[in-house]
Subunit: 334 residues, 2 copies
DNA sequence: TTGTATGCGTTATCAG
DNA sequence: CTGATAACGCATACAA
């Protein structure tokens, strides 16, 4: 404690916390002393009394069954989706001096550990990306009284703040583009249908195609991985050899579809047009580059962070949500 | 505090911290009470006295000048490299109940904030990936007295624990494979030569080729991005039209090279063989899939985490390092 | 405007 | 083996 100069620690505390009622001269002196001694307040002691930790958790809650071969970890962290989330959240959190703690909850055990961690008061709030419908985690966290913002609309409506993209409208964009191209027989590769986002994209796409007079749209369910995209594309092609357009519910699956189409000698987009969803980095690295529905993930994550911090500042704040509008990014695949 | 039952808080503390000297019967009672009330110790109060936070920082220290177009954030978090690091570190940290705090240091301002954060005692140690030679951060952190493990050999040798891969030997693997294929005129795309890893890969590759009698190996410097790989490949091709083999210092640049080769009508690997470095997800999603030097990043990150925790447990521990041996993963590009 | 005193929830020391 | 009691380092209500 920099009390080598004749001031009380209370004054030092006031200076550090920028309390206005401090004599400018004294403040100067203290600031100089702080500078000289390199003093920084101990975080543990501080948060013991302020009840704030200045850090929030970003939790990815995903059931492990969506993955087969390699360990769960590798998948989620390598997914471009993850990186964009972190990026967007950090852009608003960092200027505020708030730190981001990364957490995973892929099974019951991890969930239990996570809840304990949260109960310990390690973070001021949580941003959560929960991908399956019946995930108990978000509910548990609100019951805990911890501020929380969800990524994506909750399965069953209940009072929780969230931000999402309009999946249906995005899928419609894809449908419109495919018809405008003149596609006659189109199919779709959906995501796992226990996820509301996957459901919405499928619904939206079918609705969009229906508007243009295409009543029946064959669909094969994938699980958002490249491999599942390949398998789905094969099945689609086997059952509908004359297919000339495909909408995949994410870029990774679209990329898988591209591989299969190339292997079968179909030119993209001349023979078969392909549209993805997300506008992830996979979209630009695919050959050909993917036409895809862009989800403004960074903006969404930033909105989540902002919303969360509002709730942290004011515990009484009512829940609110923010729906972003997707856009179609036209590249070469359609 | 679960003192509704007639025990002192000291005893509760003992039970929670699994101190052996506690009457089994009493322990039962306490455990039951804990269970019933859902009590969890407050982390801030605990670490105020234990001086441990049970969390470590993963910091990515990268100069921003390596990136042009889009914000720095997006790049680093979307890079497969990052995901694999997180993944490996988490695999050892999580079972220990240690949390991972993500931090970025791309400029002086961010570095200052970072140092303040560390000084506040928010974490027990740091795993740092510092990509440029003259980064002051690692040094500053050791001076702070905080346990630290570096990813990659430090520029100038000084006492700090690190784990690395043998870049030279990896590059030699690539050289051997290229000549075994019968390549006559090969070039290389290096990483930014202010990074020791990039230097080592270039040195190792040239040494390997020299052993097979290839004295001169043309090199164009890239910056580890897809775009830079494209530009470098174009230049290489312009200056050496008869090139039939290329070693790129990472997969992303190799991917860029692939694009250019395809655009110029060169078949891979028949006309030009291409080898990358990393074995990132980009390697398998490229067309054709990349033959590449695999860096066991997950294992390396796990080793870093273990090493770090050793230093956290025992502050007197001497620094130590661990060099991993890379392997060649043969796919279709060479 | 500034200093004093108290409490935040644990763990650790030391008697008992 | 267990219970008081003293730190831990800060913020803050209250007094001056």
């Amino acid at each position: 404690m920099a009390k080598t100069i004749g001031v009380s620690r209370a004054t030092v505390s006031r200076v550090i916390n920028k309390v206005p009622t401090v004599d400018p001269v004294l403040r100067q002196t203290v600031e100089r002393a702080i500078e000289a001694t390199g003093y920084v307040p101990n975080q543990a002691a501080r948060s013991l009394v302020t009840r704030r930790t200045d850090s929030v958790a970003l939790v990815i809650s995903e059931p492990e069954h969506r993955h087969f071969d390699d360990p769960f970890f590798g998948r989620v962290f390598t997914d471009p989706f993850f990186g964009r989330m972190v990026s967007g959240a950090m852009s608003v959190l960092r200027p505020l001096g708030i730190q981001l703690v990364l957490m995973l909850a892929e099974n019951a055990d991890a969930r239990a550990k996570l809840m304990t961690y949260l109960r310990q008061g390690h973070v001021d709030g949580v941003i959560i990306d929960s991908t399956h419908l019946d995930d108990p985690l978000p509910q548990q966290i609100v019951e805990l009284g911890l501020p929380i913002v969800l990524c994506g609309r909750p399965a069953k409506p209940y009072p929780i703040s969230y931000v999402d993209v309009d999946h249906q409208s995005g899928a419609r964009l894809a449908a419109d583009h495919l018809v405008a191209r003149g596609c006659q027989e189109v199919g779709t590769i959906s995501g796992p249908l226990d996820m509301s986002a996957a459901q919405d994209r499928l619904t939206g796409f079918r609705a969009g195609m229906a508007q243009h007079g295409h009543a029946y749209i064959p669909c094969v369910e994938g699980n958002f991985t490249v491999e599942s995209g390949e398998r789905a594309m094969e099945q689609l092609l086997d059952e509908h050899p004359r297919l000339d357009g495909v909408f995949a519910a994410n870029d990774l699956m679209a990329q898988g579809a591209l591989t299969v189409l190339a292997a079968r000698g179909r030119r993209v987009p001349q023979d078969v047009a392909v549209i993805g969803f997300d506008d992830s980095s996979a979209a630009v690295s695919s050959r050909p580059p993917l036409t895809t529905v862009r989800q403004p993930l960074e903006d969404m994550a930033a909105a989540m962070a902002r919303n969360l911090m509002n709730h942290v500042e004011d515990a009484e704040l009512r829940v609110s949500s923010h729906i972003f509008e997707p856009t179609l990014v036209i590249r070469e695949s359609a």
